[in-house]
Amino acid sequence: MTRLDGHGRIDRSRTLRFVVDDVAYTGHPGDTLASALLAHGVHRLGTSVKLGRPRGIGAAWVEDPTGLVQIEEPFPEPMLLAATVELTDGLVARGVGGRGRLAQVPDTARHDRQHHHCDVLVVGAGPAGLAAARQAARAGEDVVLVDDRSEAGGTLTGTETIDGRGSRDWAADVVAELAASGTVLHLQRTTAFGHHDDGYVLALERRTSGASRQRVHRIRAARVVVATGAIERPIVFEDNDRPGVMLASAARDLLHRQGVRAGSEVVVFTSDDAAYATAADLHDAGARVTVVDVRPTPPAAGPCLERDIVVHGNAVVTGAEGEDHVTGAVLGDGRTLPCDLLLVSGGWNPTAHLFSHVRGALRYDPELGAFRPGEELPGTRVVGAANGVLDLAGGLRDAVGDAAPAVVEQPRTPTTVLWRVPGDPARQFVDLARDATVRDIERAVGAGMTSVEHVKRYTTIGTAHDQGRTSGVIASGITAELLGRPIEDLGTTTFRPPYVPVAFAALAGRERGDLYDPVRTTVLHDRHVAAGAVFEDVGQWKRARHYPRAGEDMAAAVLRECAAARTGVAIMDGSTLGKIDVQGADAGVLLDRLYTNLMSSLKVGRVRYGVMCGNDGMMIDDGTVLRLADDRFLVTTTTGNAAVVLEWMEEWLQTEWPDLAVHVTSVTDQWAVLPVVGPRSRDVIGAVFGDVDVSNDAFGFMTWQDTVLDGVPVRLARISFSGELAYEVHVDARYAPALWDRLLEAGRPFDITPYGTETMHVLRAEKGYPIVGQDTDGTVTPQDLGMSWVISKKKTDFVGKRSFARAENLNPQRKELVSLLPTDAATTLPEGSQIVEFRADGALPPPPVPMLGHVTSSYRSAALGRPFALALLKAGRSRVGEVVHVPVGDRLVAAEIAPTVLVDPEGARRDG
């Protein structure tokens, strides 16, 4: 065991059990999976993705390129860093070979999101972030403070002194003050992973209480303070990927957070001052420590001299010995220092990702040997180590200016920049997660690449889970050396969101299951459920598709419902129909411009069918228009296009025709629409609405009348989408259930039959009425549908008119709507089937086989006693009577081309 008494902030009173690679271990609350393994002396975790080399824990937080595990329990999750997995009781994990495995079972855990607005968002609760948050809170501002670790304080170990207090006591004081302020939302275990325009930051919280496992916080801040610290970078040498090679800062972090000493024979290879604190702390914790410093005169060696730590100046580590674990550090002069822990420190890269996300430019700072924020951005400030100010006193001053608390510390000396030491480039690993070496960069440069972005994509350096946190800048440095150009000129690759991997489940949040997409229902929904309806999705609506009786399948139910509509009476819920109230002196003008036919000539009390086209002359919607008054029309749209048509009207009114005195208002949810269809519909309507003369003379086709039933206004309209005698009943939706019941009751003597959308589709197809979006696809004109009659020749202009004269629109080979009758009178052609020329031999020739068109709708017809289809077919109308072939599976089905209207072509049934 390398757990040390008197060190760390774990809860030793409680023991947690966990299993890694089938071996049982124990740890404590406050441990990460990595720290708990290292407490047992375990560094090794899995193998590398390409070369299969042993991999181990390389760092103590999100910068670790190697310590990946597959979590098995409590829930399978692939590719998590052991360093970032908080230890829980019962955790089961195993090392991975570079790839994880997605769960095969559904994740039942809840994920959610929350929106916040604040004056200041501070990212990072290290000393600079805490100071900035406190300053804002004291100024009375609304503050959100997020930090990705489990506790505030950042890298403060407690050995520093701030304002005369131990640094961790100081941090605790600030946290308490923030909590008491009432204006601060302070979230630990919360990683800001994306920074977007106008102060919008996304942060992922790993929750320890509440109903969800993780929460995405969407934070909109007037100002963003980025206090995210800096990440240590290694120096590249041969076999630097061996387990037991680790960042120096990680070893210190593990010692102070979890009381774990990651090794007992330690070599520290450094070009920076910070590693000396690690060396001293590990020595004090009982390790034998040797320092190898690149710099000729190690400037921070004082504490080491006091402690008898050997410091080799002007020296480098050129390689690591050992296979599964490091056993020695090979020095430049050929000596080998035995060790079980080889720590590396090559300076610090400011964690300026959130600055880069909003396109803040980074600039190379030679003094720092790193890229740091190089410009001012409105609304975003980067402070402390994230801004390249690495000393504590400087960082606090950077954050809050003169309000900074007092700190006494040794002045820092500059880092000596060293990307790599001499050695075999094929064994010098740059990106350990990708098995990418200096040799790979040499290949990229040899192939002629001079941009770090190209080198990244060629070598894959920086594309793994860690996004090159420890390798990206080094790759730039080595590329610069190989090209013989200054790194300033090359820059570094761009940081993009997310800063850390985020599970899709977290992004999906609660939008899954029943809440995946809003389900829209009509006021009659419960009635349909009670009647045993089978529903289908139409846009976001749930519509009754058919109402099967016991023992019926859909085909049987639909045949029965169709027969009822053609021979008796049937009723459906048409409330999903889009409805738009068009009012104003110029209402008729607007409709004349948007419909292909003339609407302004419609008389009050009458109804007209209309078609709308886009600028390209292609049909976008159709429906009926009721003229309610001189200055008022009720426009109906297809269910799926209600919002589209309303927006279409508003767009024209607001952008092109603001001079028109018209207002359009959606009333879709206001009115329930109940079509009552069939030869006996007149009896039912007459029985329910005794005041209305329902005779054909008094109430003709395509007219409407208002009436009142028990004090409730009701509108009746003679509109038919089936060719049968039919009435649409419009009523304030609140009264629709009661009226539905009343209609069913009145229809009982005629065996009134509720019917669904499938029957509606069959009935209209038998009459050749197209459905926009089913028989059309955005390339179909009204003329293609055989509806030239709906295009006004009187109007000088309307939307789409100019396109009707295009040469292609006049091409006689355009696809036209026809019906197809399979000659066997038995086969129902699958919708979407392709149509080819008739083959006398009944066999499909070798490809290519010219496609003449396709089947758009296909049903069995009760009225015809056979299946039929609608199809778009090249020059179809000129080919009526001919036979074509439709490949279905591995056979060819012969079908005769017929006119679109198959039932009651003379329209005798319309008036009952």
């Binding site: 809840r110 959610d112 999101r113 929350q114 929106h115 916040h116 607005h117 609304d142 509440g210 109903a211 969800s212 969407r218 909109r220 609660r510 939008e511 029943d514 809440l515 997409d517 809003p518 389900v519 829209r520 229902t521 009509t522 006021v523 929904h525 419960d526 609506w541 999903t576 109230d581 009012q583 104003g584 002196a585 200055d631 005195a661 207002h663 208002t665 009333v667 879709t668 949810d669 206001q670 009115w671 039933l709 028990d710 004090g711 409730v712 206004p713 304030d732 939706a733 609140r734 009264y735 259930p737 009661a738 009226l739 009343r742």
Partner: protein
């Protein structure tokens, strides 16, 4: 015969008991109540640019012109939804159709329009200290009292449904939801409250 009269329904009637159960369950731990307000008469009023002042005379109801503002009226609310758009409610109007019929000619004379939308919205109320947080689980607006206080209203998204969110005194929120989306919103609210259960 009363039994024969057409009876109106509240689309969310089926949810009433579940909302009540929630308040009881959370009592003492979280201060949250979701209730259904009775349906009222409502008109969607559209006005030509700059004509709000004449339109409100024609309508007999004030039309606030400050963006995102609403005002109580003698018998309801007048909510400013857009530059030329208001929703006006009247708890006492027995027949919205008659109200519309009376109002429309006067409005038409000044280039304005009115449509009966009484059946178009379900009216939900959220009360209690947890109400604002509950909404923050699915509404991107700044709902801090200084930004969204009483007499403020906005059309926005809650989850994936459009809603008209209306601020009242004492941190109460009113949600006017298209009736076809009301079931989704009711389910969404109850699911959001899982955080407190």
């Amino acid at each position: 015969m009363t039994a024969d009269l057409l009876a109106p329904v509240h689309l969310l009637d089926a949810w009433r008991a579940r909302f009540e159960d929630l308040t009881v369950e959370l009592a003492g731990r979280h201060d949250l109540a979701i209730t259904l307000a009775p349906s009222t008469a409502a008109l969607a009023v559209r006005v030509a640019p700059g004509a709000a002042a004449v339109a409100e005379v024609a309508l007999g109801v004030p039309l606030p012109t400050r963006p995102l503002a609403w005002e109580p009226t003698l018998r309801g609310q007048s909510l400013h939804l857009g530059p030329d758009e208001w929703l006006v409610t009247d708890v006492a109007a027995t027949s919205a159709a008659a109200w519309e019929a009376v109002t429309r000619p006067a409005l038409a004379a000044v280039g304005a329009a009115a449509s009966d939308v009484s059946a178009q919205y379900a009216d939900l109320r959220l009360q209690g200290r947890a109400a604002r947080e509950l909404l923050s689980f699915g509404c991107a607006l700044d709902l801090r009292p200084a930004s969204f206080g009483p007499r403020t209203c906005a059309r926005t998204l809650l989850g994936q449904s459009g809603v008209l969110l209306v601020g009242h005194d004492d941190g109460e929120f009113q949600l006017l939801v298209r009736t076809s989306f009301a079931g989704y919103v009711a389910a969404w609210l109850l699911d959001a409250a899982e955080e407190y259960r």
